[in-house]
Subunit: 383 residues, 2 copies
């Protein structure tokens, strides 16, 4: 199941190597990011505001889910996690359609945690509006905002906002180009086919910290990786199936492309789903009914077959994408991904369909209190 972008990441990975590969992350615009693969990796959380089940097993209202998301973010901040991201959808099973509004409420109740979208569906929005909302958020939280822009894995936003899926590629390419200019501040001159041209246009509010921290969400296709590099933007990989290490060639491609295109070194992050409980068995058993139901629901729309229990158990195993289990199991999997891919950031997508709020809170607590120290120790030992 693909939930951050529609890129098919199960094939076409490049395994070319190049002698111009440069994995040194310098200060050229990236000094706000930790070095890749180190114990200073940022460890965060993502949610789409998945509509959860209440105590009676029935789905809660989206309004209640939105309030629960704020509660979860406040907990994450209190426990010292580095990042909290909310992803935009336009469906009855995900409550977040206006990420920055949710993030602004979180901003007002948190002190330190970075706040972002995961992702903003840039293709079906206006880059000027997206910039304005995030620049406003960044002002309100004094520089803690960041944007992860993507093409969107779900297609609901296209007809809703009057876009043609046939323009999928051009919409994202043009809008990313404009957004990349807006984030650096100052008047913008731009023209394209997907919105009105701008000529020496100031856009308000001006960014207070330059540039507005921005990632490109990538599912796994080579063209998406090269596009992120071409715009000189950090890459956030959504790894929701397969072995995370299968993405190593894409990460190498990204770094090589940056060098080849004369861009400074940039960080790479990963977003992956997971669930944590006191034991592996408890985590797996809690997650399975909710995850399999979500997989079946989305699969019906996309023509997937149902997920078998055997497939699920493979995905939660040591080389699978799902970060599920006890704190030590999950920490070991995150260390493997962070060290193996040289990540500067790992975000656990902790909401999983109808999995209830209290179990999400438990995952957040175990992640912050147990997994994070184990990951930092594991990476320090690795270094």
């Amino acid at each position: 199941m693909e939930t951050m972008t529609d890129d098919n990441h199960s094939d076409n990975h490049s395994d070319n190597h190049s002698d111009i590969h440069d994995d040194h992350h310098d200060d050229n615009g990236t000094s706000r990011f930790p070095a890749g693969g180190s114990a200073a990796v940022e460890l965060g959380l993502d949610t789409f505001g998945d509509v959860t089940a209440g105590p009676d097993g029935r789905r809660l209202s989206q309004a209640q889910v939105l309030r629960d998301v704020v509660d979860e973010a406040v907990l994450a901040d209190e426990l010292g996690l580095d990042f909290f991201g909310v992803g935009e959808h336009h469906r009855d099973d995900f409550a977040v359609s206006a990420p920055e509004v949710v993030l602004a409420a979180i901003a007002a109740r948190t002190e330190r945690i970075r706040l972002g979208s995961a992702v903003t569906v840039l293709s079906s929005d206006d880059p000027v509006r997206v910039y304005q909302r995030f620049a406003t958020l960044d002002a309100l939280c004094e520089g803690r905002a960041e944007v992860i822009v993507g093409r969107g894995s779900f297609t609901e936003s296209f007809p809703l906002f009057g876009y043609d899926l046939g323009d999928y590629e051009r919409l994202f390419e043009e809008k990313l180009d404009l957004f990349a200019r807006l984030r650096t501040g100052g008047p913008v001159t731009w023209s394209g086919t997907t919105r009105a041209a701008l000529e020496d246009q100031a856009v308000y509010p001006p960014p207070e910290v330059l540039p507005l921290r921005t990632w490109v969400g990538v599912g796994g296709s080579q063209p998406s990786v090269i596009r992120a590099a071409r715009h000189g933007l950090p890459m956030m990989l959504a790894i929701i199936g397969g072995d995370p290490m299968a993405f190593a060639p894409l990460v190498e491609l990204y770094h090589r492309a940056l060098t080849h295109l004369g861009q400074p070194a940039m960080p790479v992050g990963v977003h992956a789903p997971g669930h944590i409980a006191l034991t592996d068995e408890a985590a797996v058993e809690q997650m399975w009914p909710h995850y399999s139901a979500m997989h079946a629901r989305i699969g019906r729309e996309r023509g997937w077959g149902p997920m078998t229990r055997a497939q699920f158990e493979h995905a939660v195993g040591p080389h699978g994408a799902l970060m599920v289990g006890s704190p030590s199991t999950v920490a070991a999997k995150i260390v493997r991904a962070v060290a193996g891919l040289g990540l500067s950031r790992f975000d656990l997508k902790y909401s999983l369909g109808t999995l209830p709020h209290d179990q999400l809170r438990t995952t957040i607590e175990l992640y912050a209190k147990e997994v994070v120290p184990l990951v930092r120790a594991g990476l320090a030992a690795h270094a």
Copy 2:
């Protein structure tokens, strides 16, 4: 100077009377509003996030102004005021371009105060996005959100978002029609010329309290008044020049039109600029340099002559639109407007160009602690 809509309210006021006029406000969709002209009138504040002068006299950054706006709203809530509104602009002299993002931060730090836009420039935005942002805000603040939609008095948003000022009338008419459908919840079917059609389209998140409280901001033209009535929406009059009582015929027209069109009775509110200090003289002297500079700045764009001190003193006088002076002076002017026009709400636009944050805080304190009790007592005596 017109700051909420572009309607010219200095002429064309109807003074027709009709025997079908019905000023009884019943419960038909309006039970969340107090009855017009009573001591239960809601008393609120509006700001556009005017970029203020810092202690050294230089203009602050828009980011700092946005944080100051949140501080002012928190003070207003602590002091028990009923409403706090922020208006959308796209200029270097007003910091709020994304009202709901600012309001969500305020929502998280307040308990009781209602939160809204003043106004949302609906003509140059997408009604679906506006609905989503406000429904999200309403969920986060548990039903305290309201929208004041308007056409916008400034024109910057039209080229910025790719709209033609030649479509000014059609854009607002169509978008108001769509927004009025969205606010009542449930799937929407709509088609028009200014955005993509929707067919039985659910929009998320669903409203938790139905319908989403919505006003139409009106500058003073008869067609705008009748449009608000036709959509069965409450009317918020921007009175920023002339005698407030000159608007009585428009208010009567609104009530008659509601009745004639078979709509339930609806409340009327007024937004007017003002400044409060311990004495009339202090309020006038504090306001004058900032207000006259703002008037000159906007006047240069619109071809107005400079405002003379005599014109200003007339506007701050007993029959002028500006609510300026000591608490008792301002209270008397508000009582006259509320009782005379049968208002359910009065919002003081307390930000005035570069007038500094500390003086804005003083206005808020004097308004809440002294003006509000005087207004309530005055209205009770009036009844």
